[in-house]
């Protein structure tokens, strides 16, 4: 490189130190760029819920609910919950990958708001949740799904969904910080999630389940989220149901957000 250029590079005037919001926006921009450069990540996110929707609707739908249209009506709100919960695992994997590559060492040695990188992850999560939810909703509507509560209901359901994703996301950020490899995060994450998603009211009405299982399904936070989503999208939502759905995400945020920070600063 040419020494003359070094001089122009080195003798730069230092700008004023930016605020926390500016830091967070910069990381949000990074999250948006990831969609531009790695569009195939959406494939991973949407594939599983899409297969679930198609499989369950066409294979079991008629038997479970009389017709595929009836069943997709029952299934779709819960599949959205499943999508968001699965997505959170990928966000923990992304954090683990970034940490492994030393990228966060640079961020941590910068004089920035120490939470800003997480704000960026959140922006990425919200975008992922929204895009995935809209794709699934589109496919559902092609299969005959019609939200009983119209546009406003769907909008409220999407807001609830993002709140759920935000809360559940902390679990996998913690895993991302603690586990050494992204693969461990994935394995552990899905091992924990699978029973929660299947032993819930997403796919079937728990009425025919054995009593001991029904007790679990009733307290399973995924069931409560699904019930509230069904209410908001199909009609019959109550504040109580929404409150129950938000209880677990709120508890997770209150306990795990400080833990995430502590783990991040301690590394």
């Amino acid at each position: 490189m040419k020494p003359a250029l070094t001089t122009t590079v080195v003798q730069v005037e230092r700008p004023a130190v930016p605020g926390a919001l500016s830091n967070a926006l910069a990381f949000g921009w990074r999250a948006v760029l990831k969609f531009k450069h790695v569009p195939e990540q959406m494939f991973d996110l949407v594939m599983t819920p899409l297969m679930f929707t198609l499989l369950f609707t066409f294979v079991f739908g008629g038997a479970l609910a009389g017709s595929t249209e009836n069943y997709v009506h029952f299934l779709l709100p819960g599949i959205l919950v499943q999508t968001v919960v699965f997505n959170s695992v990928y966000s923990g994997m992304g954090l683990s990958t970034d940490l492994g590559k030393g990228l966060f060492d640079r961020f941590r040695s910068l004089p920035i708001w120490s939470l800003a990188p997480f704000a960026g992850l959140m922006v990425g999560d919200v975008l992922r949740h929204l895009i995935a939810a809209l794709i699934i909703l589109g496919v559902g509507m092609a299969l005959g799904y019609r939200p009983g509560t119209g546009f406003a209901g769907v909008l409220a359901a999407l807001v609830l969904l993002i709140a759920i994703g935000f809360g559940v996301g902390w679990v996998f950020l913690v895993l991302g910080l603690v586990m050494r490899t992204p693969n461990t995060v994935m394995t552990l994450g899905f091992t924990g999630i699978m029973p929660l998603v299947f032993a819930s009211n997403i796919m079937v009405d728990p009425g025919t389940m054995p009593d001991w299982l029904r007790v679990f399904v009733d307290v399973n936070p995924v069931s409560r989220m699904t019930t509230a989503m069904r209410g908001l999208m199909n009609g019959g939502a109550t504040w109580g149901a929404i409150g129950l759905a938000l209880l677990t995400p709120a508890l997770l945020t209150v306990t795990l957000a400080p833990l995430t920070l502590w783990l991040y600063r301690r590394r």
């Binding site: 080195v10 005037e13 500016s22 450069h37």
Partner: protein
């Protein structure tokens, strides 16, 4: 320059820094004094504790004991102020592989507060580091040398008072290494204090005004390259014997002629020994031939890291046992 503290303040002073991982004391009480505007080299094998020391000074690891001031700011009391004064280029490119080179620099420029001028600053850096052609390619498609250049550019978005470079040329081909060396010298000429780690004596010799030799978490020697060489000899004589059976006889003869102890490589039938001057080496070789020990070859070279370690510690620069933690 406005970003620098007054010229009396040393860039780095560290006293008694300690960091343990489990039972292993990765850094075991190190003092450092680095004057402003100089290049200071930390020389040592893998696992010596160089990276741990650097990570502590860069606010990434909290020391178990000891204190340090960087550009006049206390490491423990004012880490945020320290971060404003430093930049770190780690051992592994700390870049987002999915983003383009230009986007990586724009992100950092925004984090430093360039706002609307972030893209212009990124382009300026890309040009200076000869990356303009690759600016819009994703970093995962960059060569090792390009990554390294971008990584250093990323540390210069604003001019730091102190730049940490962790093994800046490890894994680079000779051309890329030369270009990184030129860049480091140019930065130092502009008044940036540089603390770099290296496993190569040649690199420390080429760049650093002062060198600290680190072994098992301790500083075992410090001085200018000239001073270290005075301790290790200006050069080493390497001899390969035609007959491996004669290695002991040859070693004793060389030791008698040149003083010091010869390092024996029995499998290779090779010997290395410190030689005061080419003349003395010449005379020692003549004595070997005269006593009927046939040679396969010989050479005279500057001491390697291993030989510096041998001279300073009596053992080679063997990597420390793995601790399960990065160095």
């Amino acid at each position: 320059m406005q970003t620098m503290p007054d010229s009396q303040t040393p860039a780095i002073t560290a006293r008694g820094l300690v960091k343990s991982f489990g039972a292993v004391r990765a850094v075991d009480g190190i003092d450092l004094d680095v004057p402003r505007g100089t290049i200071f080299g930390l020389l040592g094998p893998n696992g010596a504790g160089k990276t741990t020391l650097l990570r502590m000074l860069a606010t990434l690891l909290k020391p178990d004991a000891g204190s340090a001031q960087l550009a006049g700011h206390d490491l423990l009391a004012a880490p945020h102020e320290v971060r404003k004064a430093i930049s770190l280029t780690g051992q592994f490119a700390s870049l987002d592989e999915d983003l383009t080179g230009r986007e990586n620099l724009i992100l950092l420029a925004r984090l430093w507060g360039f706002r609307g001028r972030a893209a212009a600053r990124a382009d300026q850096l890309l040009e200076a580091f000869e990356l303009t052609d690759a600016a819009r390619r994703q970093v995962k498609d960059y060569s090792g040398g390009m990554r390294r250049r971008l990584d250093i550019a990323a540390s210069l978005v604003v001019t730091p008072s102190v730049l940490f470079l962790d093994e800046p040329t490890t894994g680079l081909d000779p051309n890329a290494r030369q270009s990184v060396w030129r860049m480091i010298r140019a930065l130092a000429a502009e008044g940036v204090t540089i603390l770099l780690t290296t496993q190569y004596l040649e690199e420390a010799d080429q760049l650093a005004a002062r060198i600290a030799v680190i072994d098992h978490g301790r500083k075992i020697a410090e001085g200018t390259s000239r001073e270290l060489k005075a301790a290790t000899g200006s050069g080493y004589l390497h001899v390969t014997l035609a007959d491996p059976a004669r290695i002991e006889a040859a070693a004793r003869l060389l030791e008698e002629r040149l003083g010091g102890e010869a390092q024996r490589n029995v499998e290779g039938a090779a010997l290395s020994i410190k030689a005061g001057s080419p003349q003395e080496a010449n005379a020692a070789l003549a004595a070997l031939v005269a006593s009927g020990i046939p040679l396969d070859g010989f050479s005279m070279a500057a001491p390697t890291l291993d030989e510096v370690f041998f001279a300073l510690t009596g053992h080679g620069a063997a990597p420390a046992p793995a601790t399960g933690e990065p160095e």
